[in-house]
């Protein structure tokens, strides 16, 4: 049996990059464990670390993360909590501060973003030397499960509006399952000001305008099984405002 060091060296030769997987969590006690298991299963050929940014979840998410650290190691799973629920956009920035990888993956904890797709993100990045590889539900091979008609209509309508107004070069603007070159993400994220859903769109639109090379890979999106989505009723209004804001500022 090859020693760990041998294994590491082999991986290093095959896959030269180090991936920091940033996962923001709020009340994802069960999901964070499941996703870590799946990450370690599907990313075993790559060098990576997981950075969990938990916003003081009352459900004990951080206790689960500590147990996970016991299994996988504190150097593989980093817990970088914050004292209060401060929102998603800033959670990424916070996690990014601790990322040691040259590439960063951002994904949700709720299993809507399945780690099994990460190898295809990485392959795409290596093939095309892209700055950003973004997962898309709206091309061949992609798809969604668990949305009702209203949610489908909203999502497609939002996409049509955004494409008409902003001419982005990606098919899925609001998806947040992405792989970034770290320096690119650091640069783009500084120019972004919006919160919530608009943040994902702003990030990719500003990256497009900066001339970043963006590639897409198909993903399937299964709506969360455990826990509740934090999507509120005011999101649509916020989205429309955000769209206009981007129309005037990018």
């Amino acid at each position: 049996m090859p020693s760990y060091a041998d294994e590491d060296r082999k991986i290093e030769q095959l896959h030269p990059h180090f991936y920091s997987v940033i996962i923001p969590t709020y009340n994802e006690r069960l999901n964070i464990a499941l996703i870590c298991y799946l990450l370690f299963k599907h990313m075993k050929d790559y060098k990576f670390e997981v950075i969990v940014v938990d916003d003081a979840s009352p459900d004990g998410t951080q206790d689960t993360v500590k147990k996970l650290q016991g299994i996988y190691g504190e150097d593989r799973i980093l817990l970088r909590p914050r004292a209060a629920k401060l929102g998603l956009g800033t959670a990424y920035v916070h996690g990014l501060k601790y990322a040691s990888g040259d590439y960063v993956v951002i994904m949700d904890a709720d299993l809507s973003h399945h780690p099994k797709y990460l190898p295809s993100f990485i392959r795409k990045q290596l093939e095309t030397n892209a700055d950003i590889v973004t997962g898309t539900r709206y091309v061949k091979g992609g798809g969604v499960h668990g949305w009702d008609l209203r949610r489908k209509l909203t999502s497609r309508g939002a996409n049509v509006l955004a494409h008409t107004l902003l001419w982005p070069r990606v098919s899925d603007l609001t998806g947040s399952f992405r792989l970034y070159r770290k320096d690119v993400l650091q640069e783009v994220v500084q120019t972004c000001v919006s919160k919530g859903y608009v943040f994902q769109m702003e990030l990719i639109v500003r990256a497009t305008r900066m001339g970043c090379r963006i590639e897409e890979v198909p993903i399937t999106f299964v709506d969360r099984v455990y826990g509740t989505s934090k999507l509120g009723g005011t999101e649509i209004v916020q989205y429309l405002k955000g769209l206009l804001w981007l129309f005037f500022t990018t």
Binding site: Y37, T64, H114, G142, V144, L165, V222, V225, Y226, F248
Partner: protein, 92 residues
């Protein structure tokens, strides 16, 4: 160039062409009849495009129940793993 200027420029150019058509003397009568209504046609086309794109998007929208089943299997697998490693994940 900001997106608003890009689209604004295209819009201004189109309006410019329309006005110059309106002001062109000696257009064939058939054209003279329809030119004043161009903005209405444009608006209608825009609406059709929007509805069409939405309809097309809904048509090709792929649902993937099989992925949900696969995920359930993954979840079971993960839970077994954690049980073996003595991590209690029971909800509530």
């Amino acid at each position: 160039m900001k997106q608003v200027w890009k689209i604004g420029t295209i819009f201004t150019a189109v309006v410019g062409i329309w006005i110059s058509l309106l002001l062109t003397p000696g257009l064939p009568p058939s054209l003279q009849l329809i030119v004043p209504y161009f903005p209405m046609y444009a608006l209608a086309s825009l609406g059709c495009y929007g509805l069409g794109a939405l309809g097309y998007g809904m048509m090709v929208f792929r649902v993937c129940p099989e992925e949900a089943d696969l995920l359930q299997k993954d979840i079971t697998e993960a839970k077994t793993f954690f049980k073996e490693h003595g991590v209690d994940l029971s909800s509530d």
